[in-house]
């Protein structure tokens, strides 16, 4: 796995608006992927990232638009996500758990900052591809069709217990494969 730190060289004559646009285009997708770690869905992630960029734009006199800004962006996105989780945690134990996971010690998720996302996606694909056949079939039904355990069991005519076992196995194996992205 290669971590690549992209250096950005802005031409001096770029106007702040132009620099801002470059930064937006460069980081928007990454930040959404990063936000997606904490949120319920992509729309929520996009909204959070949009709002963070709006804050950055409003504070542009105090910020310099260079490489350093990515730390600010990632930190702000994380804070917004945590705020959201904190807000939701009163409603259910699921969000409460996530809040507990991330509000304390938390690895930054550096790979979202530095890694080529294409590489990351290839690794994920490889990892999924290496699952045993039945395990993969079940896992993909959950991922691609968004089926619940009971629906998968019906579709494949197997017990819910089997689905549960295989889903557990799939995620454990993927975790082993993707270990280096989880630190």
């Amino acid at each position: 796995m290669k971590f690549r730190q992209k250096k950005t060289v802005f031409k001096d004559d770029l106007k702040p608006e132009e620099k801002f646009e470059l930064i937006f285009r460069r980081y928007f997708f990454r930040l959404c992927c990063f936000a997606n770690r904490y949120t319920k869905n992509v729309e929520e992630s996009k909204e959070i990232v949009q709002d963070v960029f709006l804050q950055v734009w409003n504070k542009r006199s105090q910020l310099s638009f260079d490489d350093e800004i990515q730390f600010y962006l990632f930190r702000s996105v994380k804070n917004s996500c945590l705020n959201l989780l904190e807000h939701c945690r009163v409603e259910n134990d699921y969000h409460a758990s996530l809040y507990l996971l991330y509000s304390g010690h938390d690895p930054v998720g550096d790979h979202f900052m530095t890694l080529e996302l294409k590489e990351l996606n290839e690794h994920i694909e490889q990892a999924i591809g290496s699952l045993p056949d039945e395990c993969r079939r079940i896992f993909l039904l959950s991922r691609e069709k968004g089926l619940k355990y009971a629906e998968i069991s019906k579709e494949l005519n197997i017990s819910v217990k089997t689905v549960e076992t295989q889903m557990g196995r799939a995620l454990s194996r993927l975790r082993a494969h993707l270990k280096s992205y989880l630190s």
């Binding site: 928007f28 699921y94 896992f139 355990y149 889903m167 557990g168």
Partner: protein, 348 residues
């Protein structure tokens, strides 16, 4: 030998003890939790489990993040940077670059030279604030009308704006023909063919005007933008509209959930709120209800039996809706029930 019989613990108690002493959670259960397949009580159990130790949290975190990574592929299909950028640009235009500190030294100059406020009997403007953006090149004026009041103002170019309650309008006094609106307003735009007048809304629908009268309603909590044209010509454009759409007098365009519907309406009905008084002549319940709905900003459920009844003639000025119903009850037999902004009228 005498044996002492030991009474066993009741089963329930044993179960509780087991849970507390050994709260192991297996991997399948964690994965079910991540996939939202657990029951409420299991969720609770897991919550306690992760609160127990850093190790438990790390275990769940890694599985959870693995799960998120495995869904990563779909993201590229759902996120389009180009679209996001145009969405952002529209938002940036819309949100005034406000800093919370009003700059009072600008106040007099701008108030005197650019803005004339006309207070009318219906109400007043709560206050207008001036904002400057960070590099001090632009000062924005924001006018806000509080709940239950209405107001009217005249912009520097002569355009008249009626603002309904809980609405605000924000603009740069140097560009008075480009304003942002939240809430509801009626515009009587003074004609200037070379400088189109543009109203921006937060839902990404904008109105371009040459010289005209129209009503625009875009309260944030309604999630729709409703544009009703009285006179003239306007064009709607924005990120949620494929290509600019022109609407004609007497037409109303409603943008909701990204679809734009245009229909013919009685346009005057939609701007009735801006008048100082509401005149009702020889009207039945059926004719009266839509007017009252707009006047008071409520929604009324009318008993079908009442629809053709009544023959009301009255003028409403500052009466509350209760006063109005009480007045109507003097000549007509009905009951009313007020529940927030929902009202039911029933035949007795």
């Amino acid at each position: 030998m005498h044996r002492v019989r030991v009474k066993p613990f009741p089963a329930v108690l044993l179960f509780v003890i087991k849970l507390e002493m050994n709260s192991t959670i297996n991997k399948e259960q964690l994965v079910r939790f991540i996939n939202r397949e657990t029951s409420l009580s299991e969720d609770h159990q897991i919550f306690r489990w992760i609160a127990e130790s850093e190790g438990n949290r790390e275990e769940l975190r890694q599985l959870y993040e693995t799960d998120r990574l495995s869904r990563q592929k779909n993201l590229s299909a759902q996120i389009n940077v180009e679209d996001s950028w145009s969405e952002f640009s529209a938002k940036r235009l819309n949100v005034s670059r406000k800093t919370s500190k009003p700059l009072l030294n600008y106040w007099t100059r701008i108030a005197a030279s650019v803005l004339i406020l006309v207070s009318v009997s219906v109400g007043s403007i709560e206050g207008y604030r001036l904002f400057t953006d960070s590099n001090n090149t632009k000062t924005l004026v924001q006018l806000h009308v509080p709940s239950g009041e209405k107001s009217i103002m005249i912009l520097a170019d002569g355009t008249k704006v009626w603002l309904n309650s809980e609405s605000s309008i924000t603009y740069n006094p140097l560009e008075p023909r480009s304003v942002n609106l939240t809430g509801e307003a009626y515009f009587e735009v003074s004609e200037d063919k070379s400088h189109p007048f543009i109203v921006h809304t937060e839902l990404g629908l904008n109105v371009r005007v040459l010289g005209t009268e129209f009503n625009l309603r875009c309260y944030p909590d309604e999630a729709i933008v409703e544009t009703t044209l009285d006179k003239g010509r306007i064009e709607l454009f924005g990120k949620n509209i494929e290509r600019p759409v022109e609407i004609l007098p007497g037409q109303q365009a409603v943008l909701s959930e990204n679809s734009l519907n245009i229909k013919n309406v009685n346009a005057q009905l939609f701007s009735v709120w801006r008048n100082n008084e509401l005149k009702i002549q020889d009207s039945s319940f059926g004719e009266l209800v839509p007017l009252i709905e707009r006047w008071y900003g409520v929604s009324i459920h009318l008993d079908a039996r009442l629809r053709d009844q009544g023959q009301f003639t009255m003028t409403i000025k500052t009466e509350s809706i209760r006063e109005l119903f009480m007045m109507m009850q003097l000549t007509s037999n009905f009951q009313y029930e007020i529940n927030g902004s929902e009202i039911r009228l029933k035949a007795k």
